[in-house]
Amino acid sequence: MAYQLDNRPLDLRERFYFPEVIRGIGTLAGHFLRNLFFSRDANPDILARPRGLGYSDNVTLQYPEEKAPYPPGYRGLHRLVPREDGSPRCVACYMCATACPAQCIYIEAAEVPGDPIEKYPAKFVIDELRCVVCGFCVEACPKDAIRMDTGEHAPPSLERVHQLLDEKALLRGPAVSYLSDPWLRRPAPSIPAEALAAMTASARPYPDASDEYAQTPGFSVKALAAEARERAERAGTP
């Protein structure tokens, strides 16, 4: 139900001006004295800093020296996820470029020499100045080849051209392999046999709960991983 606001006129004490001013200064002085006599807690998690009597109220970070780490799942700078042999997982399917509302991804596909099926991105350029950091490219990728889990934002630069990140700059971070990867399920001539064996050994069945960026919008990574484990157990495969 609707209720009326408490907008009574000022009473005599409040109209008298000084009592209220003194009360306000009391509030501020409390903060001031605490900040004056107690030093700032440097914990980057502001919420975890103790508050109250005996602690400073200061909630700032001394920025370039102290940085608050971005939480897991933060949409940061893009990276192209490598495979164990150092080549990108990307198969140049153009899904990310299609899903990008800012049209900041440019891809040129090329055939892997000596392999009749595989494609790879000969050029993969992201214009970080056009990027609106929506994360749709990550969601659109059917190969888990592009992620935004670097935990850093686009670095400043003096030249616009330095914000155009190409495949060499983007390809970094920990490698990922899934058992469902087609180049592991059939002998891919472009990968040497021993490298392929190593990749198969390190391949995981499905993203585990730490892979925030392997997630589909609307599905919990943990639930999906558990579901996949169950299905694998039922099928009797490792």
Binding site: M1, A2, Y3, Q4, L5, D6, N7, P9, L10, E14, R15, Y17, E20, V21, R23, G24, T27, L28, I46, L47, R51, V59, Y70, P71, P72, G73, Y74, R75, M95, T98, A99, P101, A102, V132, V133, C134, G135, F136, E139, A140, P142, K143, D144, M148, Y178, S180, D181, Y206, P207, A214, Q215, T216, P217, G218, F219, S220, L224, E227, A228
Partner: protein
């Protein structure tokens, strides 16, 4: 005029005394406020004609932030509109996401899972608190109370930190999707958010204690920028500004959406419709939002986040990586977009500033045929010259703040 002066004037042949006593017809002064003025919120220009210190007329010049929102949406898929809606009211982006998602779902006749509805309500209410904190802090700042602004921003930043953990970005959250929401809450997030809300309550009460009964603040806001109830309805006000004028109209009560019909909350109503009432109503709404959030945290049960219908929602990644059906659904959805049935619909939600409406026309293809936006702040901004007629120049800035014009949504 003393007789000696008159004598002197007579001797030097100056003007007659009647001429001196006549009122001077002064020239009106034109003052440009903005577009990039620290006191103007967002980038808007007010061309004010002054009669002495009073505003004789005020002309608003907007459009500095115009990005062609409605037209841009016609060339992208329905899903790709979400990043654009983030940038409408950039202080409370998830409310725009949710408003758009609800409108599209109305057209698709989609029923969203309960947990997604709760998550949408929670994020909307957190953003309502953020929006109101910004306004209250800025209102204090404009009347010389810098401290209040710092407290408000501290509270807002803590809430934004929680939203970062939830949706991966501070400002441009891009959280809702057609058919649900994009992510579930991380481990321990609810407890952390409750702690944050406790801290925000302290800050809010401190702000209220410093401002509400302070005579400087009271005198500068009481009776300033008054809009009567009848005027507010005629001018098309919605949201806190309408309720401050005495009309108990809130879409969350009048046409409940999401889970608002299950929540126990009240609508605060003002009586004067002045800046002071608009301030008080924001403080009260923050209290109500806080109450709602705690109820949501209590009632929310685990469950699905999106409808499991791959015509609308991307299939889960293991299916995309491993099965041909998953890959096909995925590719079709990305390339062609969601096939929203042909038709038109008006979806409305109660955003922080009032009724946020999306008028959608679909021709059955993967892209919107036309999107019309009813920006909540627009009627209030358009009424500003009427509200301010005859007011002091120094009252322009607090009144301008109290209607909470957000450039991103007004100028689309």
């Amino acid at each position: 005029m003393s007789t000696e002066v008159k004598e002197v004037l007579k001797q030097v042949g100056g003007p007659r005394s009647s001429e001196l006593d006549a009122p001077l017809s002064s020239k009106r002064m034109l003052v440009n406020l903005g577009p990039s003025h620290p006191a103007m919120h967002g980038t808007a220009r007010a061309v004010v004609e002054l009669e002495g210190e009073n505003i004789a007329s005020c002309k608003l010049d907007i459009g500095f932030l115009h990005r062609g929102f409605e037209k841009s949406c016609e060339s992208v898929t329905w899903t790709q509109v979400f990043p654009y809606t983030d940038r409408l009211n950039y202080v409370s982006s998830i409310m725009n996401n949710v408003g758009f998602a609800l409108a599209v779902e109305k057209l698709c006749k989609l029923e969203v899972p309960e947990r997604a509805q709760y998550l949408r309500t929670i994020t909307s209410e957190i953003h309502r608190i953020c929006d109101h904190l910004t306004l209250v802090g800025a209102l204090g700042l404009e009347l010389g109370a810098m401290t209040v602004f710092l407290y408000a921003i501290e509270g807002r930043d803590l809430l934004w930190d929680r939203l970062t953990e939830l949706c991966g970005a501070r400002l441009t959250s891009n959280y809702a999707r057609i058919g649900g929401v994009s992510r579930d809450v991380p481990e321990g997030w609810i407890e952390k958010t409750e702690t944050t809300l406790d801290r925000v309550v302290l800050l809010r009460d401190e702000i209220d204690g410093l401002l509400a009964r302070n005579r400087i603040f009271y005198d500068r806001t009481r009776g300033v920028g008054t809009v009567s109830r009848a005027d507010a309805i005629d001018l098309g006000f919605t949201g806190p500004c309408l309720r401050a004028s005495g009309e108990a109209y809130d879409l969350r009560k009048a046409a409940p959406y999401l889970v608002y019909d299950r929540l126990d909350f009240d609508i605060p109503v003002g009586s004067n419709g002045d800046t002071y009432d608009r301030y008080l109503i924001r403080i009260e709404e923050m209290k109500q939002s806080d109450k709602m959030l705690r109820q949501c945290f209590r009632d929310m049960a685990p469950g699905e986040l999106v409808v499991r219908d791959f015509r609308y929602v991307l299939p889960p990644k293991p299916e995309v990586y491993g099965t041909i059906e998953g890959v096909m659904a995925h590719f079709k959805l990305i390339m062609e977009g969601i096939q929203v049935p042909a038709g038109e619909v008006y979806g409305y939600t109660e955003a922080a500033n009032g009724e946020l409406g999306f008028y959608l026309v679909s021709d059955g293809s993967g892209r919107p045929y036309k999107i019309g936006l009813r920006a909540p702040g627009w009627p209030m901004l358009a009424a500003l010259p009427i509200i301010l007629h005859g007011a002091l120049l120094s009252d322009l800035v607090p009144v301008f703040d109290s209607i909470n014009m957000i450039g991103g949504e007004v100028e689309q």
